[in-house]
Amino acid sequence: MSKITTSQTVGPFSHEAWQWAADACMPGALKTSGPTLLLSGVIYDGDGNPINDAQIEAWIPAGAAEEAEQLIPGFRRAPSGADGEFSMRIPAPGPEAGAAGEPLAYITVFARGLVKHQFTAVFLEDAAGLAQSAILNQVPAARRATLLARQSGDGQYHWNIRMQGERETAFFDYV
């Protein structure tokens, strides 16, 4: 039997303790030198109700190089709002990342009622190299669309997270 320390829910009261890292990537505070895009979305529960006390983290390994001045380079944290909404500004991927099929960002989801954080990843629907993505190719074809962010404007993409239901987001356990 594995001797790991097990998980417990983040609960409803993480915000004050987690805010320092969220503040660092708010507009005005974020120090990133290259072009960025805006990723926004809503997190929903199994009834389609927005989750207003989630924490969404994004890790952008390829973006860290452009953010030496940032408190934690290549890292974003955003609490969901009253309507389950979240948004974060993310370095626009260079052509190499797109061609390699790397995700836009590796995502971690936390919430009250979620007893273990969930890993997933988000890809731009129009990225080059989606068909060659090693990660997407490990996701059953019918569920790949849950990981694609749709272009919603110039430099803006929309991506929802669904904890349950027909379009339940594909969540990962890394090998």
Binding site: I4, T6, T9, E16, G46, W59, R112, V115, Q138
Partner: protein, 230 residues
């Protein structure tokens, strides 16, 4: 690093009806086991520049001493091989001695303490050790069911050395009579896994006449780290 599949029972059940808000929030599809090089070899880089002067002394955030029992909490963060997880970000948060969080959504009719916010963060040292000084948190009621009271606990958020080691958990105190009635604690089926969430009283880490010591070691997933632990 390598991440073996975790046996059933070690993690809490994602949908555990006794903890009501899991019912519509816990994913129903099995997690997909994914091979991806970056999450098991790289991580965010959180250096000492993120730390504030009193991040490891939660009793030093106000104008004077907070109310309650001052304690020190320490432990080692290791991987599944027992190797120290060094230089790794740990965040902690908790209720005050009366069982009230410094948070706008906490409606418990217990007093806030103007000298205690219950927020801290730190980096593990070369031995994987963390240490912080705080006030022993009180139990508090929540709306899950009749007479629902959470056992006293401190929340931990750990970043590990590689991204896939991320963990959020809760540390409990020895012999809490509320364990048997708490669906969050009980949502972990495996008895031994539950007990690993309970800290130990430590005379060794007790500081003279100032504060009692509690020890809480944490084992993150992952084995076969590279020699640098990166």
């Amino acid at each position: 690093m390598k991440f073996d599949a975790i046996e059933p029972g070690v993690y809490p059940e994602l949908v555990y009806p006794a903890y009501k808000s899991t019912v519509k929030r816990g994913p129903l599809q099995p997690m997909l086991r994914i091979e991806a090089p970056l999450p098991v070899t790289k991580n965010i880089v959180a250096g000492p520049h993120i730390l504030l002067p009193h991040d490891t002394d939660l009793t030093a955030h106000g104008d004077s001493e907070p109310l309650g029992e001052k304690i020190v909490v320490t432990g080692r963060v290791v991987d599944e091989d027992g190797k120290p997880v060094r230089n790794s970000l740990v965040e902690v948060w908790q209720a005050n001695s009366a069982g009230r969080y410094w948070h706008s959504k906490d409606q418990h009719a217990a007093p806030l303490d103007p000298n205690f916010y219950g927020l801290g963060k730190m980096l593990t040292d070369d031995d994987g050790r963390y240490r912080f000084v705080t006030i022993k948190p009180g139990p508090y009621p929540w709306g899950n069911h009749d007479k629902a009271w959470r056992p006293a606990h401190i929340h931990f958020s750990l970043f590990g050395n590689v991204y896939a080691q991320r963990l959020v958990t809760q540390m409990y105190f020895p012999s809490d009579p509320l364990f048997d009635y708490d669906p969050i604690f009980q949502s972990v089926p495996d008895e031994a896994a539950r007990q690993r969430l309970v800290s130990r009283f430590s005379l060794e880490h007790t500081v003279g006449t100032e504060m009692l010591g509690y020890e809480f070691d944490i084992v993150l997933r992952g084995r076969d780290a590279t020699p640098m632990g990166l």
